[in-house]
Amino acid sequence: MTILSVRQAIREAMREELLRDDKVFLIGESLGPYGGSFKLTEGLLAEFGPEKIMDTPLSESAIVGCSVGAAMMGFRPIAELMFADFVTIGMDQLVNNAAKMIYLHDGALPLPLVLRMPEGGGATMGPHHSQCVESWILNIPGLKIVLPSNAHDAKGLLKSAVRDDNPVVFIEHKLLYNEKGEVPEGEYTVPIGKAKVVREGKDISIISYSYMVKKSLEAADILAKEGIDAEVVDVRTLRPLDVETLAESVRKTEKAVIVHEAPVTGGAGGEIAAVLQEAAFDYLDAPIGRVGALETPVPYSYTLEQAYLPNTQKIVDKVKQLVTR
């Protein structure tokens, strides 16, 4: 085992995949000499050269669309958007080309592309650089959506994404980049489509993903001191959703709260709640709770942004409300 930050883990995954498969290349803005807006690609230009580390003009639609075309030609682009918020500009290419291309060829054409992007607030970066976008993309069959919460999963899931023959949207959280964790020394992958119980408990299932897994674990620690034994499940992949792992946890705890950073309304939590009541209705002992951001744009200023975001205390409060009702 070695200790890596999420940033290092993602960089290693890209590096190893570039070394493993000549078809892999990186495409995005200021990846080369600049090293990426969050320094994910630092050092890669020197090692792989500009044919593999491709800096584009400031053109998100072209980044996504060009990745689709290159994937149709048998290459395996790893595209980066500087901020997930900019996916709106690449959205047409993502939704109307990337997501449909395999189906429109009736499965005869693989479309191996990865679209990486950092999302999330907490850094006073303002309303256009802090949003969570996964539920904007969730309603699109044909895309896979992966959101790692730690260094181990980030590396293993990204390697799986690069090797996947389907388009994968790989959503990182900017507050996770400096988070360190244990990562195996050698080659490994983490399968797409598998959730993971990251803390066992018997009283309630806190179901979460990305940065909010950290907050959920903190909440579970606080709850433990008050005699509430919470299980924490990391969804890891929103599409395809690992219903069985989530349902199994809920069948055991009989209660669930879903935590994500995006606003509650229309968030992925609604979808997860729906599949859980289908899969585990007879076991549920309380309504399924949801914790998310307020129903506003992400405010810029620190005090407002902190009030807007879900946090450990909000999770604790929601859990107590469900457990003690």
């Binding site: 003009p57 256009h128 407002l304």
Partner: protein
């Protein structure tokens, strides 16, 4: 020549805002590094003449939508240094009580069009403001500013085309510092002048020295007159240099230090000072007086920002809808 009509008061005003923009930026960078500010900052040092030389021409009925770097427009269009600075500090006295950043502040009453952190995203909105001006039958214009890198966005091309087809009073002002974050202009476009993009849309494209405030003034004045007379949009390209990293956190390690240092020989403030003194328009003691006044306005604004309160959390969910 429009410049010939400038009187000494105009020259004072130009110098005042050039100096104020520079000094404010230096303080912002310094205080940011000391961890006092919340807003990400993109320095305009070395590029001040563009916003000041064009912004000074905007009147009450005109609108402006500044780029991330073009601070001078705000000051000239009636945003106070105090509210801008309070915004940088994330205070309740900043734009929209801390909900918005200062560099995207919007206030239609003062003719300041809310910007977007999505580069290029403000351009179609500016075209809509131009449409509104035309529909109202006003003689106003709207000036939207952006960097060279922004011209790679589809929104730029759609906005340029629509403004030209409908002959709207829009000034597209490109601050060409030949950089877009870590990318150079060669990696951004296969042409050597942004202004020639105008040909494709049937509007004039003009390139002028962005480090010469009078050249900026001259080119902008002509474009404004054309727009006010119903002649439609113009693409103005002002050449300049980026003195700092992209943002205040960027160490700028990917550029040759000697080259970046050489840019400082072409300082828009020095350039203007030389003209003012050589032509005897202002004396050294006038410059000193103007600088002092500008520094005081900025220092007072910092003090105001520091003293202001943080936004109360109970406003967070207000005014999502009217």
């Amino acid at each position: 020549m429009y410049v010939e009509k400038l009187n000494p008061k105009d020259y004072e005003k130009l110098y005042y805002y050039l100096y104020l923009t520079r000094y404010a930026d230096e303080l912002i960078c310094k205080n940011y590094k000391q961890g006092m500010l919340q807003e990400s900052h993109h320095s305009c040092q070395g590029e001040e003449a563009i916003a000041v030389g064009s912004g000074i021409l905007l009147g009450k009925d005109d609108y402006v939508c500044p780029s991330l770097r073009a601070r001078g427009y705000f000051y000239l269009k009636g945003a106070t240094l105090k509210e801008m600075m309070a915004g940088m500090y994330g205070k309740v006295t900043g734009p929209s009580r801390g909900k918005n950043t200062s560099h995207h502040m919007g206030d239609m009453d003062r003719g300041i069009v809310c910007g977007s952190g999505i580069i290029g995203g403000a351009l179609p909105v500016a075209v809509g403001v131009g449409l509104g001006i035309k529909k109202r039958g006003s003689k106003g214009v709207v000036l939207v500013s952006f960097g060279d890198g922004s011209t790679s966005r589809g929104d730029f091309h759609e906005a340029m085309n629509l403004a030209a087809v409908w002959k709207l009073p829009v000034l597209f002002v490109c601050e060409n510092n030949r950089m877009a974050m870590g990318n150079t202009i060669e990696g951004e476009m296969a042409i050597d002048r942004v202004a020639i993009r105008a040909d494709a849309y049937g509007m004039p494209g003009v390139t002028a020295n962005g480090n010469d405030v009078l050249a900026v003034y001259e080119a902008t004045a002509a474009a404004i007159e054309r727009a006010r007379k119903g002649g439609g949009p113009t693409l103005l390209e002002f050449t300049t240099h980026r003195w700092t990293g992209h943002g205040v956190k960027d160490a700028d390690a990917y550029r040759d230090r000697a080259v970046v240092e050489s840019y400082k020989q072409d300082c828009p403030l020095d350039n203007f000072r030389k003209v003012l003194l050589a032509k005897g328009i202002l004396k050294k003691r006038d410059l000193d007086r103007i600088e002092k006044a500008a520094m005081k306005e900025v220092d007072d604004a910092v003090e105001y920002a520091v003293q202001s309160d943080h936004p109360p959390v109970d406003i967070v969910a207000t005014n999502v809808y009217v």
